[in-house]
């Protein structure tokens, strides 16, 4: 919904004050007002002057950062565009999205990476942070021009959608990447073990007759890359971990002091494999929904700090693609607009920790900590989210800003809802409504 009231929108130069909220950032929680002007936080304190924006009872935090968003542009604009994905992100409280590289053409050249960043700038709703491919065309055969891409601003490389299967090539990518001071993000899946797989390999897949995706196909690659990181000294990030043993492997690697980080998705924290008993393709996702035991281990991994970040793996698909058979339908589900509500709904997590996994840590992993995930103090860029942590709500697919509708959270009660999102000092979301 568009609003003409520029004062309310807080148009950049105009000073406004968030009143009545509690700041949550790396320094903990404190009640204070936040004055914003010219795109930055200018004052934090009591009884500040300026146009008042209601943050009563809400949390004021650095804007969320998603390490894992499929924005589908270029190539699959029928599913999502950078603009619609950015809007979905803003509604979910995000001020930065790392754009996954499995576009068409893929993000393996400076031209495509620049295009993605520029489309993000044009939409102006979040900072779109392009990732780069590790290998050309995500084919796993030859390295992408990583140095050129790094020079063009890419800080995180991944072939997401595919794991890099070849051990030698991955070793080279890590060695080369270490010289560029970039992060290698791995989609952990040994492809020979998951050919044709539709769901977790488990009791349930046995009865449903659906080809199974065994946990070990993820864990083998987690183990391999931990050891390659130990060998090369590269910074490695694990995307969408889904199994108990993966969490154990990362916990042990961190204990050894290796530069490893890891993320989990809201859906792997909340939905289990038995969802597939409905044969609804909305539940087909890669890696697949796992067992209740895995879910418990992932939650524990978040709470004990083994898992650094909550990442959505937001993967929009048009209706007709999901209305195929389970073996043909593409994997993936929406996540940006529901992540906060799912996280607060299923995790017994304190708010500073929530802000760490949704903003501070992912900003650091994405290499954008200068602009996102910062403490709320004078001089910080005004990339903020204001959310109500206790409001419960239900997902209505027609109200989603995403161009697609493949959310698995319909009918679930979520806890925690975004009230305002402020990007570069502007309201992208005000009172729950997207402003542009």
């Amino acid at each position: 919904m568009k609003r003409d009231n520029n004062a309310k929108r807080g148009s950049n130069a105009k000073r406004f004050v968030l009143k009545g909220g509690t700041i949550v950032d790396s320094r903990g929680e404190r009640r204070a007002e936040v004055a914003i002007e010219g795109g930055v936080v200018v004052e934090v304190g009591e009884a500040l002057s300026g146009d008042a924006i209601d943050a009563g009872g809400a949390v004021i935090a650095p804007g969320f950062v998603d390490l894992h968003a499929h924005l589908r542009e270029p190539g699959k604009e029928e599913a999502e565009t950078i603009e619609t994905g950015s809007r979905a992100g803003a509604k979910g409280g995000y001020t930065a999205l790392v754009a996954m590289p499995n576009t068409d053409p893929p993000q393996d050249s400076v031209a495509v990476v620049d295009f993605v960043r520029e489309q993000g700038r044009r939409a102006g709703l979040v900072e779109v942070v392009p990732s780069g491919c590790i290998t050309l065309g995500r084919q796993g055969e030859a390295l992408a021009p990583m140095a050129e891409l790094a020079a063009a601003g890419v800080r995180i490389f991944t072939d997401d959608g595919n794991g890099v299967q070849d051990e030698l090539l991955m070793r080279r990518a890590m060695e080369y990447g270490r010289g560029l001071d970039v992060t290698l993000a791995q989609h952990c899946e040994v492809a020979t073990l998951t050919k044709g797989a539709v769901m977790n390999e488990c009791q349930c897949c046995t009865t449903l007759g659906l080809p199974g995706w065994p946990a070990v196909a993820e864990e083998l690659m987690v183990f391999r890359d931990i050891e390659l990181a130990r060998l090369t000294g590269a910074r490695v990030h694990f995307l969408h971990l889904s199994t108990a043993r993966s969490v154990d492997l990362v916990r042990a690697a961190k204990r050894d002091g290796l530069p490893i980080t890891a993320e989990v998705t809201p859906h792997h924290l909340s939905l289990d494999e038995t969802r597939l008993m409905s044969f609804d393709t909305v539940y087909k996702v890669n890696p697949p929904l796992r067992s209740p035991r895995d879910i418990a281990a992932l939650r524990k991994g978040v709470l004990d700090g083994t898992i650094d970040a909550l990442a959505t793996d937001h993967a929009p698909h048009p209706r007709r693609d999901k209305e195929l058979s389970l073996d043909q339908a593409p994997p993936g589900m929406l996540g940006l607009e529901t992540a906060l509500g799912v996280a607060l709904g299923v995790l017994e997590i304190d708010l500073p920790h929530l802000v760490r996994i949704m903003s501070i840590n992912p900003a650091r992993i994405a290499g954008i900590e200068a602009r996102h995930g910062r403490d709320i103090e004078p001089g910080a860029p005004a990339n903020l989210v204001v959310f109500d942590p206790n409001i419960t709500w239900q997902v209505a697919p027609d109200e989603l800003a995403s161009k697609s509708r493949n959310t698995p959270f319909v009918g679930m009660t979520l806890r925690g809802r975004v009230r305002h999102t402020i990007f570069g000092g502007d309201f992208t979301v005000l009172d729950g409504e997207a402003q542009r």
Partner: protein
């Protein structure tokens, strides 16, 4: 709308009801003119995304003997890839005014997806590795007929071969256990699903160990592609360990019967001429297929508005 999508969904009562109804259909099929007007004006569409001439002909014959109109919609999966979603296909055919879809697809779950998109009844004629309920009905009916009993308490069904990829096995495990049979699965571990501990079965990896203690020996077809996928090293090794040969036939109890869902792989799982089998039910399985499918279509489509139909069918 009623559907027949899986044996567990049908349940024990439904299973018994359809087996009873099949008796009536067998009688119809014995008449000089094996055709009744029970489903006159009804339309049954075969929607086959995977080739299966036998099953399709069996359903279409069943529909015709009940005087239903039949249509065939053969779809290669590639044409679905050309842009029309499965849903569009189903909705288009539904708009033509059909009463039942008979569906075969290589992916599990298709009958459930389709029943969300149509007002017609859905009959599962095989979905991936998952279910093939009319085959299980055929097999239960055939064993009832051969043994002259209604339940299978005390009988042992031994299913041999590629359980992992078999919708026939999954359907029969459910159906035969509902009727009280003990079930033994015989296969190398590579041809078993990942977790059968919760199934009402015992597992053996040696046919020789169990063949002497079986009442119904059910041989599954081994597709040659299982070899290239590394499930078995080669067909010779498979047939030596899991094929039915003269030696194993001699070990089989004299009153035991042999079944196979077809099509048979001579020289792989079947190493003797099946016509030489003294106690084969394989031909009865095919013959009963039409009667069972008539019962299924009648049960789903005759409905209350044509309550008199049963009298037309019943002697």
């Amino acid at each position: 709308m009623k559907h027949l999508r899986s044996i567990p969904e049908l349940g024990a009562d439904g299973l018994t009801r359809l087996l009873e109804l099949t008796n009536h259909m067998v009688e119809v099929n014995r008449r000089p003119v094996p055709k009744v007007p029970a489903l006159r004006g009804r339309t049954v569409v075969s929607l086959f995304f995977e080739d299966s001439t036998r099953t399709r002909l069996s359903f279409e014959t069943a529909a015709k003997r009940l005087s239903a109109d039949t249509m065939t919609f053969s779809v290669s999966t590639s044409s679905v890839n050309k842009g029309e979603s499965l849903r569009d296909t189903v909705e288009t055919i539904t708009d033509m005014g059909v009463d039942a879809f008979v569906v075969r697809h290589k992916s599990a779950g298709i009958p459930w997806q389709i029943s969300d998109w149509t007002t017609a009844a859905v009959v599962n004629a095989g979905d991936g590795w998952h279910q093939h309920p009319t085959q299980a009905l055929v097999d239960c009916f055939t064993v009832r007929e051969a043994r002259g009993c209604e339940r299978f308490d005390g009988l042992t069904l031994t299913i041999v071969g590629d359980i992992k990829h078999s919708r026939v096995a999954r359907s029969n495990i459910a159906a035969f256990s509902m009727l009280g049979a003990q079930i033994v699965l015989v296969a190398p571990p590579t041809l078993l699903p990942p977790d059968v501990a919760h199934w009402p079965v015992t597992v053996s990896h040696s046919l020789d160990d169990v063949v002497g203690r079986t009442d119904i020996l059910y041989m599954l077809r081994l597709q040659s592609e299982r070899m290239s996928q590394g499930h078995v090293p080669n067909l010779r090794e498979y047939s030596e360990r899991f094929g039915l040969d003269a030696r194993r036939l001699a070990m089989l109890p004299s009153d035991a019967v042999v079944m196979h869902p077809g099509p048979m792989n001579r020289g792989v799982e079947m190493l003797i001429d099946p016509s030489a089998l003294p106690n084969s039910l394989i031909h009865r399985q095919v013959a009963n297929g039409v009667s069972v499918r008539m019962a299924v279509l009648f049960d789903l489509l005759a409905g209350e508005s044509s309550a008199g139909n049963l009298r037309e069918v019943a002697p």
